[in-house]
């Protein structure tokens, strides 16, 4: 495949992985969503160029793929930060003050929900119930769960990621 090489002549590993994913699911019914999940894991998000390649690979109209990507909140058209901060907005967390936790993160990171800090380090999202209601209010940073938070704890939590 000629498109496997980038301008400097090296092989784009991500593209190779994408083609493997497409090949794996090509004959599965309803393959699009699993392919999008795995492609997003490779690229971190789903830019138009990736959607185009999936469209060619699965022989589906690009409009249909774009429709699916924009329907589901887990798929993102924009790159996310290296550390994805997700504030749980489930009912249990909400009544225990997750709104104030979210405000504090907005203030400390200087970004709004759905945005990414300029250095690409943190992105902020409000997410659906993550089912850890025993630890409410709870947030996730990538796969780490931080629970029983107080607005005053926010700074300390962010501090842990500052030097990573």
């Amino acid at each position: 495949m000629s498109t496997n090489k980038c301008c400097c002549g090296c092989v784009d590993e991500r593209e190779q992985k994408l083609q493997e994913i497409i090949a794996k699911y090509k004959d599965t019914r309803g393959a699009l969503i699993p392919v999008l999940h795995e492609a997003q894991e490779v690229y971190g998000y789903l830019p138009m160029s990736v959607q185009k390649k999936i469209s060619e690979g699965l022989n589906l109209p690009l409009s249909e793929i774009y429709g699916v990507v924009t329907f589901y909140t887990q798929f993102s058209l924009k790159p996310k930060g290296r550390f994805k901060v997700n504030i749980c907005m489930g009912t249990a967390c909400y009544v225990k003050g997750s709104g104030q936790i979210l405000d504090k993160f907005k203030e400390k990171l200087g970004i709004d929900v759905g945005e990414c800090t300029e250095d690409g380090k943190f992105s902020l999202d409000a997410c659906r119930c993550i089912g850890a209601c025993g630890l409410a209010p709870v947030i996730m940073i990538n796969d780490d769960v931080h629970g029983r938070l107080d607005p005053d704890d926010v700074e300390g939590v962010l501090e842990k990621y500052k030097d990573l």
């Binding site: 329907f71 887990q74 009912t91 249990a92 659906r128 119930c129 850890a132 025993g134 796969d143």
Partner: protein
Amino acid sequence: MQIYRAHVLVCGGTGCTSSSSVKIMQELETQIANNKLENEVKVVKTGCFGLCAEGPILVVYPEGSMYTMVQVSDIKEIVEEHLLKGRLVKRLLAGNKESENITKSLEGVDFFSRQMRIALRNCGVINPEVVEEYIAFDGYKALGKVLTEMTPEQVIDTMKKSGLRGRGGGGFPTGLKWEFAAKQVADQKYVCCNADEGDPGAFMDRSVLEGDPHSLIEAMAIAGYAIGSNQGYVYVRAEYPIAVKRLEIAINQAREYGLLGKNIFGTDFEFDVEIRLGAGAFVCGEETALMTSIEGNRGEPRPRPPFPAVKGLWQKPTILNNVETYANIPVIILKGAEWFSSIGTEKSKGTKVFAIGGKINNTGLVEVPMGTTLREVVFDIGGGIPKGKQFKAAQTGGPSGGCIPASHLDTPIDYDSLIQLGSMMGSGGLIVMDEDTCMVDIAKFFLEFTVDESCGKCPPCRIGTKRMLEILERITDGKGEVGDIAKLEVLAKNIKASALCGLGQTAPNPVLSTLHYFKDEYMAHVNDRKCPAGVCKSMMQYVISAEKCKSCGICTKVCPANCIKGEKKVPYVIDQDKCLKCGACMEKCPFKAIFKNV
């Protein structure tokens, strides 16, 4: 097989895992090795015990002693005292630590003794990643019985007689659903499982997937035999990584053991299960939307009829049940329909798992017989409201449900009584609210959720819920107009009557139910511009009491807006125009001189 003198069960559910139960297990292994107990004591990672508020949890058998809020640093003591010398570490035991009669075993803890665990029978008991442990607890025995001793008609008959109703929200009789699908003549049928647990605050399905995934696989195979299907799909939330991983492990083990695949139990029955990940759309919990999503499309619902039992996934007859419903099925087959239907109320049989959360002491999962009162769940099992606050309402059924006020605490909970109270069972999320919760704000919270999650296919839901939200925002902003409450009622009625799917038809419920029980709060917002609970910021002020203020100046240091002024021996004052209403000053004031003026 090696026999161990003691077993230490460590909760590996999501709640405890995030509060470092993995490190606790490592430390246990190290300390056990240090004391040369590795041939006497075995550490087992289990699913969720349910008492998530007290996590991380570990239980030592044969005594059944439950240690709560365990820290890594406590492990040395537990190993050296309990496991080596047989002396309980009292300070960590569950229950009242001050009491003389300290609780020595699980059965003695109120939280557990009042429960009846059918769907959650293996959660916190077996290692979910080892199929042999499931088999040792009668796992796959029901499937064997069904395949070798029963006809599909007999299976459906048992399900019908048991009175089991869908645990995902609607409460449709499971046996009837299976019968519809079984009667269809088709070259292919499907068995689906709804594990897209979207109701915020409900996590029982996650717990079954994490703690007992084989029970789901077994039940789906039984359903496949009953309706004549050889293919199952589990549609599970991508937000549940541990659940997905354990389900994958379980499916692979079942295939290895010939419990999935061809010629199961030496019969000519074949069945297999595939996992499909959701992608964060609440509407995909609706049955037709879920199937559209498995097909790889935008998860928009389809009009019914045709019902999925006639034309479901890929236009083939399909049954869809949720995780908790399936988890009941192997037990019903083994113990019989009569046993199951002897539990519960007249029209709601068996037990229900509730995820209790919010302003309650024992946040977690509880399984009780249908007909248990809300008071028993909230106060006897849930341990009541923290900080001595007053119970105000419990919200059930999530964004499709409603609130139950204190005056109905003694109503026995079942499908029908909740509908009568203007709420619904839903999937069993039960969020407790205290006097500090504003009911208008809660209604707004749920409307925000539905507006965000509306798929946009039908106008009543897409536009109607948005208009309702705008009115609620106005009211909570202190800009409510006369007639707003009536407008809300009209919109709600019309949306309920005309939306396409269950999500839209039930979206106005949180507003209708809070309007019904807490109309005075709405009136206070609109007429008096006051939020009685002191939640809605625009209508509330922080003020400093001139008598109590000692002019210490701590409040000025914590104020992020720099809007508190004062000097020595003169009481401080908050500039209301600049105040952000963050409440930081009130929290830090050592003399409790700052209070909310609502």
